[in-house]
Symmetry: C2
Subunit: 139 residues, 2 copies
């Protein structure tokens, strides 16, 4: 646990979210596990520490985090939603072998966006699929 309770409280306050035990735990989990987890993964991990935890609360908390810009959705082609604590602009790569989702930087200064001249762009998602370096090595 690298991000302590005080840090989490402060971070939540900065985003106008009232800190609660669950919110703090989920925030800490997201900071310490940069794996773009699903609700299921977060729940399974945290229910050991908080035995009364419900999935509904995990859903509620992530929805709250989304609305307040603490997390962003990763748009994989999976049916389960994945959440990313890093809200900066970057790409996601999902390995079809191991299922891991990697972050990567987009270095193109500017994506030429033909046909979108007069459009108001609010969000850009970059999502790749393939086989990661480590799965390629171990075959």
């Amino acid at each position: 646990m690298n991000y302590d309770v005080d840090w989490a409280k402060e971070h939540l306050n900065e985003h106008s979210i009232k800190p609660s035990t669950i919110r703090i735990k989920i925030l800490q989990y997201l900071m310490d596990n940069r794996i773009h987890p699903t609700v299921e993964e977060i729940y399974k991990k945290l229910v050991y520490e908080i035995p009364t935890l419900s999935k509904t609360s995990v859903y509620n908390t992530l929805e709250l985090f989304l609305e307040n810009g603490i997390v962003q959705l990763v748009n994989t082609n999976e049916k389960e939603s994945r959440y990313d604590i890093d809200t900066s602009f970057h790409g996601h790569f999902k390995c079809e072998k191991c299922g891991k989702v990697y972050d990567f930087n987009i270095t193109a200064e500017e994506l030429g966006e033909d046909n979108l001249k007069d459009f108001c762009i609010k969000d850009r998602k970059i999502y790749y699929e393939g086989i990661c370096k480590y799965c390629l090595e171990n075959r």
Copy 2:
């Protein structure tokens, strides 16, 4: 109807798919309506022409088209899947007002993809959200 039955049969054959009435109709629909439709939209439209049509068959057919590279999935953040008959590399923009999904060209010759040096990239999806030109004008 700009794409006739003979064209559709030929196209299906080229992709190793045995033509059937439903497959031909769905292919024609996709060619004539470049709106990245959902299963629901395809079903609602075609059930008038094919009263016995079931959603299952629409699902089956699209799955078959996906496997054989006739369509690609559009990875919107919606829960319903959208299908694109244009399998070339291009971006998708979804307007949050009218819900339309627009195609756009990516003109950057090459996206700099840091961290993916030794990864095998099989698919790239570019997805934007915002407000389209026409919804911006009419307000």
